[in-house]
Amino acid sequence: MDQKTTKQKAVHSILYWGLPVLAVVLIAVGWISFSAFNPELMPSPAQVWERLVKTFTKPIAKTTLFGHAWASLRRVLLALLVSWVFGIAFGILIGWNKKARAFFGSIFEVIRPIPPIAWIPIVIMWFGIGEFPKILLVFIGTFVPLVINTSTGIEMVDRINIQVGQIFGGKNRQILKEIVIPTALPSIFAGIRTSVSSGWTTVLAAEMLGANAGLGSLVTRGWQGSDLSLVMVSVITIAIIGALLSTILQKLEKVVCPWNN
């Protein structure tokens, strides 16, 4: 019996360590074989690697790959900073205050389903293609999930938790600060996570439509110049940065909400 379970455990650990590796290997094999048979549709990993090195030796638009990545990141981070402050504050307001919810709620319900990319034409018409309109677009794309998650989190706080605050003599503001906001924190954090991924998507879309720096502009440049290797380099960079951001957020959540582990 014991032997069997240890054996099962060993099998399980190999299985769950092996399956992700297998997935990566399959993709690599798929990529290599696909590119071998269709070189005009897909560059091989080796070509992409060469292209990657070239982005440093021969910068595009006077900027290396790092510069482009930073240009995109900087836009996202700036916009996120603003939308975290205002989105969370606004979410708390309409989650806690019934009058505010009655006033803003319906407007918000109308704006909410509009995908951030749909704002691009309007924003470009109004503000051109400089730095501000891109940051504004990312702000729009990240503000909405933040407000929704924060306000639902606040509304969902169990009534009994608020009653605890009242019984123990808490004033409204104290109850909000000591009980309601911390209770909603995991849900606020879900909003932050969504905002980061949605911000990262929006910035790339905005850059693809006109920018002289940024990963999105590299994709467009590669696409228009039939330089598929460059497209692949940008796409992989985008994916890596996206994955890094979400890992950082997971770690951060463990620090901010330690009781959840």
Binding site: N161, V164, Q166, I167, G169, G170, T183, C257, P258
Partner: protein
């Protein structure tokens, strides 16, 4: 009972909820007295009414009719001298044990060192010394309810309302908690209103038992208990009392 000062009087209290589908009377014409320093058990089988009654007594909800008289004066709204232990615990999962216990003191603006000291005293009183920095999730159900009791005690209430605090504990833990609660109460006397649907628990704990009827909640009978503590749950007088009460109790399914 040596002193018969009335801490609280409930006079002809009724509560009716009005909804879209009509109305529903949870409490009908309930009158009862709570004496200073007593351990009063409210025993009710019902699904309706008990928590509502407590919420009205503590000021969390408003009655439809009737009066709450506290210390001889009519009282409306939240009463800062009333503390509560909740059936659903309602501990803050994001606060450690000590942070949960000191909540009321923090609300009062007491400085940190002082409130920590008081919180520690009550954590020790309920037997949780050493667990101050744990999160509620890391504790068992019985220990969590001890935190709830310490939190209510730390607020230093004159009247402590406990709403089926041991309802969700297993039998073994429940007996232990009943015993410990009496010890805590002997050490630091407060007027306690303890609500339960368990007849044995009611007979074991109470100075008096107020038996309620099922939906709508009404007072059926008041039983003073003269058995000295600690009570033996298999003694004849205990079992007799238990039978008398259980014969008079509405069945609830």
């Amino acid at each position: 009972m040596e002193q018969l000062n009335k801490r609280m009087e409930v006079r002809n209290l009724s509560k009716t909820f009005f909804g879209k589908k009509g109305y529903f009377t949870a409490i009908e014409d309930v009158s009862l007295d709570v004496y200073d320093g007593e351990f009063l058990v409210i025993l009710g089988p019902g699904r309706c009414g008990k928590t509502v009654l407590l919420n009205i007594m503590s000021g969390l909800e408003e009655q439809t009719e009737g009066q709450i008289i506290y210390n001889g004066q009519e009282w409306k709204g939240l009463n800062p001298e009333i503390g509560m232990v909740f059936q659903k615990l309602a501990l803050m999962p994001f606060k450690t044990v000590i942070e949960n216990v000191e909540l009321a003191l923090k609300f009062r603006g007491m400085e940190k060192e002082k409130r920590r000291e008081i919180a520690k005293h009550y954590i020790e009183l309920v037997g949780l010394k050493g667990f101050e920095e744990y999160y509620p999730k890391q504790l068992s159900g019985g220990m969590q309810q001890r935190v709830g009791i310490a939190r209510a005690y730390a607020a230093d209430p004159k009247l402590l309302i406990m709403d089926e605090p041991f309802g969700k504990l297993d039998a073994q833990t429940r007996y232990q908690m009943q015993e410990d609660l009496l010890k805590i109460w002997e050490k630091e006397k407060r007027t306690i209103i303890f609500v339960t649907n368990n007849i044995e628990e009611a007979c074991y704990l109470g100075d008096r038992i107020i038996l309620l009827s099922d939906c709508p909640t009404k007072v059926k009978k008041v039983y003073p208990i003269d058995i000295s503590r600690p009570r033996d749950m298999v003694s004849k007088e205990f079992l007799d009392l238990r039978t008398v009460i259980s014969d008079n109790t509405d069945l609830s399914i």
